[in-house]
């Protein structure tokens, strides 16, 4: 059964990367959400998977009695999820703000910041 989790990571990466190749900024960000969840799944499977043994220590004992699930990757994923959520919501808000300001979210339609055009139209001083 362990193979399911890496396969899930592979599927998430595939769809994530496919969406990220789109020129639409929103689709790119959705792809990034899938891609970042693939990373979480990778961490999850890196901690070795066990079925049905939650990491609890019975009362009166100091160590668990049997082999239990590794709790550390779960803690890491929790942290990574929270951080990733913050970053992505910031990115989505920024995309929305950019849409208000520019009127499009298609990268091909952006006036290129890589060119020197910026200072013709008022480079921020």
């Amino acid at each position: 059964m362990e193979i399911v989790i890496p396969l899930l990571a592979a599927v998430l990466t595939t769809f994530g990367v496919y969406l990220m190749m789109n020129t639409n900024m929103v689709k790119f960000l959705f792809g990034l959400i899938l891609f970042s969840n693939a990373a979480n799944v990778i961490i999850f499977s890196a901690g070795r998977l066990t079925v049905g043994h939650p990491p609890f220590i019975p009362k009166g004992h100091e160590v668990p009695l049997t082999d239990v699930a590794n709790a550390l990757p779960q803690a890491l994923i929790l942290t990574a999820l929270v951080i990733g959520f913050g970053l992505l919501s910031f990115a989505l808000v920024l995309a929305y703000r950019a849409y208000q300001e520019i009127g499009t979210l298609d990268i091909d339609d952006f006036e290129c910041t890589d060119l020197d055009k910026t200072d013709e139209t008022g480079d921020p001083l």
């Binding site: 970042s36 693939a38 961490i43 990574a80 970053l87 910031f90 920024l94 200072d119």
Partner: protein, 498 residues
């Protein structure tokens, strides 16, 4: 061991305080100056503690070393924290003249200090996942600083910056997950010890590639640098300068730390990669700069080529080359930020960043021209300025180890850096202004630039003192056993008991 945590706590407190203090210019800037001065003094104290070669380490939350999060300070970390303190001090000084009231209202000073907090944390942490967290602190505040004020062009640049950096974040996280899967630990020193027992070179190389790509995006190496010239010339000058000084260098620091501590078993593989990366980064950055006519974009492309020099130090991987790398790092942080600061003054004096539209500055204000001359020609590697010693020692270590292609690329890049700097010099300073000659520049905004120029001069005239420090730091980096012992020894445990 409060002295290890204070470099994170001081900027954090300053950032929080700046939220509650009035958003007037004197209040905000004074608070920022006080906070950064505190950070600078504290980091100097920390440096004095580790200068003799001891490696300090402390754990959090009552968990001993491999289990709890550790903060570690060796010479490299401590000196980088000192430079961070200096840069944020100078940036706050410059912000007084540069940042508009709208951005101060939105909490510019808070974000600046939260970002400093992230940078110092990344320099000091000895835990991989914690490093990821500090990178995120740095990243989210850098998003805020880049988009603050939301000018149209700032948003363009910020979107590109965010997209590429988020990809780097995900790759970094996957790399940590895989490394954890192989070694079962996240403590860097413990990982370094455990990874010796992994017999599968393929796995190790694969994970190291993930780290190279992740940190490579952060430090803007070839071919992952495209976010940098797309975004660095758009925010206010203070932000550009602080980012140019610190952001990419954190990536270089992380690469340096990971590849001197953890992936030491397959150095042939990573070093051969770094040779290619270094050469292409140097040349592509400098060629990109040579076609630009916006001062800040020229300088942005030069950041890339100078990252190439630093990667060259890693590719050669001897004591001399690492020492030269560190010298280059310090020289570059100071000279590059200074150039960005001066570009702001140039734009205020003449009205534009575009070289085609400005000129006549040498006649109007010769003092400021000298101020530009020092960092610019230090960057190009003129003798007896700091850049000369940095490039000289790097190229010498390249010749010693017969990396002829790298040496050639470095010399070629040096020549073209000189070309770019003389381009700015002749266009902005010598050429008469195409429309109206600029007024003589008067103002205290030259103060931060003078401070940095003096440091560049001192580094150039007395390089032996800095080389003594970087030599020691490089020696420490090449003896990871000392780092591992300092983190995992009983010493940490006793420290906890006290």
């Amino acid at each position: 061991m409060i002295s290890l945590t204070l470099p994170v706590l001081i900027p954090l407190t300053t950032g929080l305080l700046s939220y509650v203090t009035p958003k007037t210019r004197p209040w905000q800037i004074c608070l920022s100056l006080a906070g950064s001065l505190g950070l600078l003094l504290q980091s100097l104290y920390l440096f004095s503690q580790v200068a003799d070669g001891t490696i300090l380490s402390t754990t959090f939350g009552g968990w001993t070393a491999p289990f709890g999060i550790v903060f570690v300070a060796d010479i490299l970390s401590a000196t980088l924290v000192v430079v961070t303190g200096l840069m944020v001090f100078v940036a706050s000084l410059y912000a007084y003249f540069d940042i508009d009231q709208k951005r101060l209202d939105y909490g510019f000073i808070s974000f600046l200090h939260f970002m400093t907090c992230g940078i110092c944390g990344a320099f000091l942490t000895g835990d991989l996942f914690n490093l990821y967290v500090w990178f995120e602190v740095m990243l989210i505040t850098s998003f805020a600083l880049l988009s603050l004020g939301s000018d149209k062009y700032q948003l363009y640049g910020c979107l590109k910056y965010i997209s590429l950096n988020l990809i780097a974040t995900v790759l970094f996280l996957s790399a940590i997950g895989m490394l954890y899967g192989v070694t079962g630990t996240l403590n860097m020193a413990h990982t370094a010890r455990r990874i010796q027992a992994v017999n599968d070179p393929f796995i190790i190389d694969m994970i190291s590639i993930f780290f190279i790509v992740a940190f490579g995006i952060k430090s803007a190496i070839f071919p992952l640098f495209f976010w940098l010239p797309a975004s660095y010339h758009l925010p206010p000058v203070t932000v550009s300068a602080f980012f140019a000084g610190m952001m990419t260098k954190v990536g270089v620091y992380a690469l340096l730390r990971i590849f001197t501590l953890i992936f030491t078993t397959h150095l042939d593989f990573s070093n051969s990669l770094f040779v290619g990366i270094a050469g292409f980064t140097m040349v592509s950055g400098v060629l990109g700069a040579s076609v630009q006519f916006n001062i800040r974009r020229i300088l942005s492309f030069h950041i890339i080529s100078q990252i190439g020099y630093m990667i060259m130090g890693m590719a050669i991987f001897t004591v001399n080359s690492l020492s030269a790398l560190l010298f280059f790092l310090f020289h570059n942080i100071i000279a590059k930020s200074n150039l960005f600061f001066i570009s702001g003054i140039i734009a205020r004096a003449t009205g534009s960043f575009s070289l085609k539209k400005i000129g006549g500055l040498y006649r109007a204000s010769p003092g400021m021209s000298i101020l530009f001359f020092i960092p610019a020609f230090s960057l190009a590697g003129f003798p007896f300025l700091s850049g000369f010693w940095a490039k000289f020692s790097l190229i010498k270590s390249g010749i010693d180890t017969q990396h002829w292609w790298l040496v050639g690329a470095a010399l070629f890049t040096g020549l073209f850096t000189l070309f770019s700097m003389t381009k700015i010099w002749s266009q902005a300073f010598w050429k008469p202004h195409p429309v109206s000659p600029p007024q003589p520049h008067v103002g205290w905004d030259v103060l931060p630039c003078t401070l940095l120029a003096v440091i560049t001069l001192i580094m150039g005239l007395f390089p032996q003192y800095l080389f003594r420090i970087t030599d020691q730091a490089a020696l420490q980096l090449l003896q990871p056993q000392r780092y591992i012992k300092a983190v995992l020894s009983e010493g940490t445990y006793q420290d906890l008991q006290r």
